[in-house]
Symmetry: C2
Subunit: 194 residues, 2 copies
DNA sequence: GAAACAAGTCATTCCCCGTTGACATCCGCC
DNA sequence: GGCGGATGTCAACGGGGAATGACTTGTTTC
């Protein structure tokens, strides 16, 4: 639980500011995702990164800076840009039906974002990020009428699927699972199309 | 901001343990919803309740106890049971299109629950509560095939709408708003119906 | 009306955690 | 090889906030 050595295994080679910076950032993303802003402690993060807590201050300018860096690093347009109008609905539907523990990285990233969303201090920060990096791409390729309303509804459904998946870790079984995928895909597709 | 006197206006009559207990609980629900567990301070809660912080300890056995008491008090089946297969889709759609600040009580309650969801300690508690009090009623009145899959999808959409509404406080305007309501209602209705 | 108990107040303590600055160590460069 | 800047370590500080316990004030009961 405490050792995130799996993520930063071979770090103690030489003195390398970039490497430790990256290790700290990786550990921070995990801790923030798991425990939220207040529940994540700099000492623990540093320990998991194999670094000293004081370095966090030097490299990120304090806990706030670290959090913002981790947030920026968690909202990458990559995840979105690989989707298009064609594959979006089906891919998302299949992804959502799976275990919560598959695709660990993405799950952690989303846990992190959810933490940010529920913390009043960080919510505005998240808001603009989501707006720029998530909503904007979607708006681009859905087209048609009432783009704003549809994009927002699409984002809502997407978020809801993620949250529900986080809260309940037992996946659906057999025929119910198929029905879920089918209906989810149809739902998303209809939002994309018209 | 600081005075929640609107909720506990006429308390200072006589010495009444039950009344102050209730006042504290009410204030706590607001503060926890607004600021999360760590962001809510016992001194502030006590102040808003017109009580002393030490009483929280006496009555609830510490901050944890207060939080759990507030959580239990927030998960009431009332909100769901007033919905039925007929009015669900439309009511929800309209509710979601509004400002985040209308329907204060219900919004606060949900903010609180969302806080609980992101808190590792309280998440399991919330899980069973949502399952029993939210999913179960929905399952009852949707009927038809693949009830489990549909109920889950419905819950996902519902949660997503709430979260999205929390994150973005600017409501949609004019024609986009109407489009949003219409599409949301249609979406929910289709999930309820088949 | 006075004792006994409950409700409320106050000051203090204690712990946690982010931050800071001084110190040690390593690496590149001339 | 030694100088200087960059990297890493350590101990201490300080603020904030929950918890504690003694003290005061009100209320009930006989």
């Amino acid at each position: 639980m405490t050792s995130a050595a799996t993520l930063a295994p071979e770090r103690p080679r030489k003195r390398d500011a970039d490497a430790t910076r990256a290790a700290i950032l990786a550990a921070a993303k995990l801790h923030f995702a798991k425990s939220g802003y207040d529940g994540a402690f700099l000492r623990d993060i540093a320990a998991d990164a194999g670094a000293d807590a004081a370095l966090i201050n030097r490299y990120f300018g304090g806990k706030d800076g670290l959090f913002q860096a981790a947030l920026k690093d968690s909202i990458r347009p990559d995840a979105i840009s690989q989707w298009s109008r064609e594959n979006f609905a089906h891919d998302v539907a299949k992804m959502m039906a799976g275990h919560a523990h598959q695709s660990v990285e993405r799950t952690h990233a989303f846990e992190f974002l959810l933490q940010a969303a529920t913390n009043p201090a960080t919510a505005p920060l998240l808001n603009v990020a989501v707006q720029e990096r998530f909503m904007a791409p979607i708006r681009d390729w859905i087209g048609g009428d009432h783009v704003e309303a549809r994009a927002r509804l699409l984002a809502s459904v997407f978020i809801g699927l993620l949250v529900e998946r986080l809260i309940r870790d037992e996946p659906l079984s057999g025929t119910e699972r198929e029905a879920f995928i089918e209906r989810t895909a149809a739902l998303l597709q209809s939002l994309v199309d018209h």
